[in-house]
């Protein structure tokens, strides 16, 4: 059995959730701070787009932007001699793009659930906006942010459509677990496919357990014991 898809997937999912997590939180904060409802709706729509587009269409845009002839891809090739499309970073790029909306939307929802009086109280106590975000908004939105992170992680792990467009299915290089399942089934190796499927199911289930555990812990400490 070839272990490389498991390794590649773990690497891709880990790096992409790291990027998505902070990017999603930051975007959510930026959007809730917009005052004009039209701008809010516009940015929200743009940032949610990858979630509602077919993954191949999102991948198509990525390919257009990051391909060797695309504006961003050409820039990287000319100035850093780095080819993004059909290389390992492309799997991260695809995973980040596709998992980002889940992180962004969960974080935004969690931030908006925080009682606005808390923010107002913090302001009247002289706390700065960044301090308020960290110590009041984010700190009271932990369960929602964690669950968004886990959903985004799982989404990144399972990324298939956009990955196949921008990263391809190169064994030992860009072949992630979902790609490996597809390839093995296409080649008629059901037993190998079962192995990969089992690994994916295990990781996915474990993620949800982590999510529930974290939410339980975040809530519990402040309520238990009088």
């Amino acid at each position: 059995m070839d272990w490389s898809p498991i390794l590649i997937s773990m690497k891709t999912a880990s790096l992409s959730i790291f990027v998505t997590f902070f990017l999603g939180i930051f975007s959510a904060w930026a959007v809730i701070r917009l005052e004009h409802p039209a701008w809010k709706a516009f940015w929200d729509g743009l940032l949610t787009l990858p979630l509602v587009l077919p993954p191949t269409v999102a991948g198509f845009f990525l390919l257009y932007l990051f391909g060797v002839k695309g504006p961003v891809g050409k820039f990287f090739l000319d100035f850093f001699s780095v080819k993004i499309a059909f290389s390992w970073p492309a799997t991260v790029l695809a995973a980040v793009t596709m998992s980002f909306p889940l992180m962004y939307r969960s974080a935004r929802g969690a931030f908006e659930q925080v009682n606005p009086d808390l923010v107002a109280a913090a302001r009247t106590l002289g706390m700065g906006e960044w301090e308020i975000f960290r110590n009041v908004i984010l700190a009271n939105a932990v369960p929602g942010v964690v669950s968004g992170g886990v959903l985004a992680f799982a989404r990144g792990l399972g990324e298939f459509g956009a990955t196949s467009m921008i990263a391809g299915n190169i064994a030992g290089k860009t072949r992630t677990l979902p790609m490996a399942v597809y390839s093995e089934v296409a080649a008629g190796n059901m037993e190998a496919a079962w192995m990969y499927v089992a690994v994916i199911v295990f990781i996915a289930f474990a993620s949800v357990m982590v999510m529930n555990g974290a939410a339980w812990k975040a809530e519990g400490g402040k309520r238990r014991g009088k």
Binding site: A121, R123, T124, G126, G128, N135, N140, R223
Partner: protein, 365 residues
């Protein structure tokens, strides 16, 4: 309103279009707590939020004076609008708005900067009787403790103005009375401006030296609390200050009137009845019970103001009888908790002292 302490004075003039009415309120608050009394949804909270900078009015100005110095918090003409962080205005929220992720100690320290932080937090814990609760989270505290933490947090911040938004509405009655006394003490010691918003008459009377009566975004009456309760001037204000009996009148002489809503009752006032007077009010506690013999002595006098008690309907409260007369007048009289029979307290006659008549303008509802 003169600010006799020579300390802080807040001048607010706030105009803001709300959903169903327009908020247009201007007032001054200086020494002693200013109360804004009005029904829920009359724009009271919006007024406080404007002062704190949580919402921005459409126009107007909010200025804080201290002796010679003058600080503009908001002025629509110059476009000045200080951030809430820079206003030094403390706000006690209805539900206290304690940070649930922080301990009592951390909550109190939230508004304190610099080296004094530890020391000041410790002082506040001591002063507000919170020693021993430092490491608790707000959700582990009782309502009264939560309010004390919220007050300690505001006081540690040392604001020039404190705004209290219905501070007792989320509390049980018995706790409320105790905490009102606590707050009264805190407000007395506080050197800045304090403004309290409430729909509770007793609360406003107990805690506020001056008062604004507010309805639908407008001030109906303003002034010294005791004077306002004694002479509310308009029917609406009388109703707000808890006057149970209000009737339209017909003037029959310089001092005499006929109460149209109380079966044409003839009454004598100790003051001349002015042209603008359209109604009369009598507080439910202001009647004097008279025996037949006592009533006979008043009968022939023009300032008698006697009312025969016929077919009264009586309702028992723990410490009071509520008596409703045939003509619709309400009389409240004290009773012992041990007494349960109204028979002996119902007199044959009631008398209204001429000084107890409240002469009012406007239409009773």
């Amino acid at each position: 309103m003169e600010n006799e302490t020579g300390g802080f004075c807040l001048e607010a003039d706030i105009k803001k279009q709300l959903k169903s009415f327009r908020l247009e309120l201007s007032f001054q608050a200086g020494g002693g707590c200013l109360g804004i009394l009005g029904p829920s949804g009359c724009g009271k909270s919006m007024t406080l939020k404007s002062i704190a900078g949580i919402v921005t009015p459409d126009s107007g100005s909010i200025i804080l004076r201290n002796g010679e110095s003058r600080r503009v918090l908001y002025d629509s003409r110059t476009g000045r609008n200080e951030r809430p962080q820079a206003r030094k205005v403390g706000y006690l929220f209805q539900n206290y708005a304690l940070f649930p992720n922080m301990t009592v100690e951390e909550n109190i320290a939230a508004g304190v900067r610099g080296r004094e932080r530890r020391k000041k937090t410790g002082e506040m814990l001591e002063r507000f009787g919170l020693v021993g609760l430092e490491k608790r989270y707000p959700l582990q505290l009782s309502g009264g403790q939560q309010q004390r933490v919220a007050l300690a947090r505001i006081m540690a911040y040392e604001p020039d103005v404190i705004l209290l938004d219905e501070p007792f509405s989320a509390m049980d009655t018995h706790l409320r009375e105790k905490l009102r006394l606590e707050l009264q003490k805190i407000l007395k010691e506080y050197g800045g401006v304090s403004v309290l918003v409430t729909h509770d008459r007793d609360e406003a009377y107990q805690l506020c030296r001056n008062m604004v009566l507010m309805d639908q975004g407008k001030a109906m009456a303003a002034g010294d609390t005791r004077e306002l309760f004694q002479n509310p001037v308009t029917c609406k204000a009388a109703r707000f200050t808890g006057c149970k009996n209000i009737s339209r009148i017909r003037r029959t002489g310089e001092h005499t009137l006929q109460a149209l809503d109380w079966g044409g009752l003839e009454l004598f006032a100790d003051r001349p009845i002015g042209d603008g007077i359209t109604a009369v009010g009598i507080r439910a506690h202001d009647f004097e019970p008279l025996s037949q013999g006592e009533a006979d002595r008043w009968k022939e006098r023009e300032d008698g103001n006697l009312i025969p008690v016929r077919e009264p309907s009586v309702s028992e409260m723990p410490f009071e009888w509520y008596v409703t007369l045939e003509n619709g007048l309400w009389w409240k009289t004290e009773k012992s908790i041990h007494a349960h029979s109204a028979g002996e307290v119902i007199p044959p006659w009631l008398r209204i002292p001429p000084s107890a008549l409240i002469l009012l303008t406007g239409e009773p509802e």
